[in-house]
């Protein structure tokens, strides 16, 4: 519905002090089709990790893009100052890009809110990837760091600020050094486009929750809070603040290069497929189904019984329901689930879905920020009852209590951590309903003693 935009709409860098830039390269406008129609815009092959490690396993050619390879692959970053900002927001709106950290809030709406609140402020690349089974942000920052930095610079220019923070777990050394190296590479090329600053938060599951990011960067403890106003209106220092997941920013960088000229730009997404003993980051093409994804990721059984989607606060779905669905948030919403942080864990028939859920629930209970009563007391109560169900020591009364506690916990925290735990419990009871009856009648199944499929870090 929008008229084709010209290159001038992107805005040209015209500050007298700015270094001369190459005239708008043809590559930006001739290459783009490939970025969005080919299945692999960001990664051509899966990036693999060992379950509890955040260091990508070395593969042929160590597929890391320095700033030179980055520009050769995607073209230089367009400028979003002046007219470029509104054109980029319109393109982001047409692309329907949503927050890939888990919230799936429309990016264009967030940017408009921040501008309506006066702009300026701070932009944050949220790279504190807390999901134990997710590695997409680590893969991006270790292999394609300049896409994320480009996206962050575009957000800063659109908002009219130079303050750009990169929020990382203090223990994630591999990603920290990848980011530091990328910033150094950019500094070597030309004066930095924006003032990139790395900030470190504690190694906690909730450090990447957006209100925790803002609270931590405001000098408080990096734990969730109940903000009376959204961060886009009043975040860091009370000024408009955009907090975006690393992957979201990478797609912003690609939409800026191609989407501004396109009527309906589409973006894919990065997901982490959980297999036995391995996590693989795979780029999903727009429209690709779960059946297609599982077929081409050779690590997973081709016909799982069920799939956990989103993350550890996500939803179990029976394979029969999800196989033909698109691997996208919109596709999963129709099934009452969400793509969340992009974790996809197929579980074969021989594994016990209740035992897997029980271990994950123990982790979620131990990961509570312990600030809100319903989460502090409710999550351990849910986890204890579920452990009894998993072990086959549960009766009908326990099942009713599980249901009652779930109803008392959902929606009652400052953040959505307790809601995720309830989503996991309810979807497990539904998806593994037959196993629940068997565990009640006959005790634990044979699958319950098999080694865990879903990686759960030791905490507490």
């Amino acid at each position: 519905m929008t008229s084709p935009l010209t290159r001038a709409d992107l805005g040209q860098r015209s500050h007298p002090s700015d270094p001369p830039r190459p005239a708008a390269p043809a590559a930006i406008f001739t290459a783009p089709a490939a970025i969005f129609t080919a299945p692999a815009a960001i990664f051509r092959a899966p990036v693999r990790f060992a379950p509890l490690s955040r260091t990508a396993e070395p593969d042929e050619g160590q597929d890391r893009q320095g700033v030179g390879e980055h520009v050769a692959a995607y073209g230089p970053r367009p400028d979003a100052t002046r007219q470029g900002g509104p054109a980029l927001i319109a393109a982001l709106e047409r692309s329907e890009l949503t927050g890939q950290g888990g919230g799936h809030f429309p990016v264009a709406t967030k940017w408009r809110t921040a501008l309506a609140a006066g702009g300026g402020g701070t932009v944050v690349a949220n790279c504190a990837e807390g999901e134990p089974a997710s590695r997409k942000d680590a893969a991006l920052l270790q292999r394609r760091p300049h896409l994320v930095l480009d996206g962050l610079a575009l957000a800063a220019e659109t908002l009219g600020t130079r303050r750009a923070l990169i929020w990382l777990h203090e223990g994630d050394r591999a990603t920290q050094s990848a980011v530091a190296r990328a910033i150094a590479e950019r500094r070597e090329q030309s004066p930095l486009d924006v003032a990139f600053t790395v900030a470190l938060g504690p190694d906690h599951y909730l450090t990447g929750e957006s209100s925790a990011v803002v609270r931590g960067l405001n000098g408080g403890s990096a734990l969730p809070s109940l903000p009376r106003q959204p961060a886009a209106v009043a975040g860091i220092g009370g000024r408009p603040t955009l907090v975006h997941n690393a992957e979201t920013l990478a797609w912003v960088a690609l939409v800026a290069r191609t989407g501004v000229m396109t009527a309906s730009p589409s973006t894919g997404s990065l997901v982490t497929v959980v297999g036995a003993g391995q996590l693989a980051v795979v780029e999903v093409a727009p429209g690709e189904t779960f059946a297609e994804l599982i077929n081409r990721s050779s690590m997973a059984s081709s016909r799982p019984a069920a799939v956990l989607v989103g993350g550890y606060g996500g939803s179990w779905l029976p394979w029969a329901e999800v196989a033909a669905a698109a691997v996208s948030d919109a596709g999963l919403r129709r099934l009452g689930a969400s793509l969340g942080a992009g974790v996809i864990a197929p579980v074969a028939g021989g594994h016990c879905g209740l035992a897997e859920t029980s271990r994950v629930l123990q982790f979620l209970a131990a990961s509570s920020a312990r600030q809100c009563g319903p989460c502090l007391f409710g999550l351990p109560a849910l986890a204890d009852l579920f452990a009894r169900l998993s072990a086959g020591r549960c009766n009908e009364g326990d099942l009713r209590r599980l249901d009652r506690y779930a109803g008392q916990v959902i929606g009652r925290g400052a953040c959505h951590h307790p809601d995720g735990a309830v989503r996991l419990v309810r979807s497990a009871l539904r998806t593994f309903a037959t196993d629940v009856r068997r565990h009640l009648a006959d005790g634990p199944c044979a699958g319950a003693v098999r080694p865990a499929l879903l990686p759960v870090p030791d905490i507490g």
């Binding site: 109940l226 809100c372 009563g373 319903p374 989460c375 008392q408 009652r412 925290g413």
Partner: protein, 74 residues
């Protein structure tokens, strides 16, 4: 007891769950609006307050020793 609402105000009674310690005074001050869960923390109505409920909501807000309850005018 079911709430009968004739004149919704658009205001909601809300709690900051981080500030709330589950003291429970709100449930005594506004028993028709506030119930408590299995652990003693307040469960509040999701719907906007009725005009007739504003007074007891204001009492509960004023009586909270943790200043956790508030009226959301949004």
């Amino acid at each position: 007891m079911p709430r009968i609402r004739r004149a919704p105000t658009g205001n909601r009674l809300r709690v900051d769950p981080v500030a709330c310690d589950g003291v429970g005074i709100c449930a005594h001050l506004a028993p028709r609006l506030v119930t408590v869960d299995s652990w003693g923390y307040p469960i509040l109505p999701v719907e906007p307050l009725d005009r007739s409920e504003q007074r007891s909501a204001a009492l509960a807000v004023a009586g909270c020793p943790r200043r956790a309850l508030f009226i959301d005018h949004g």
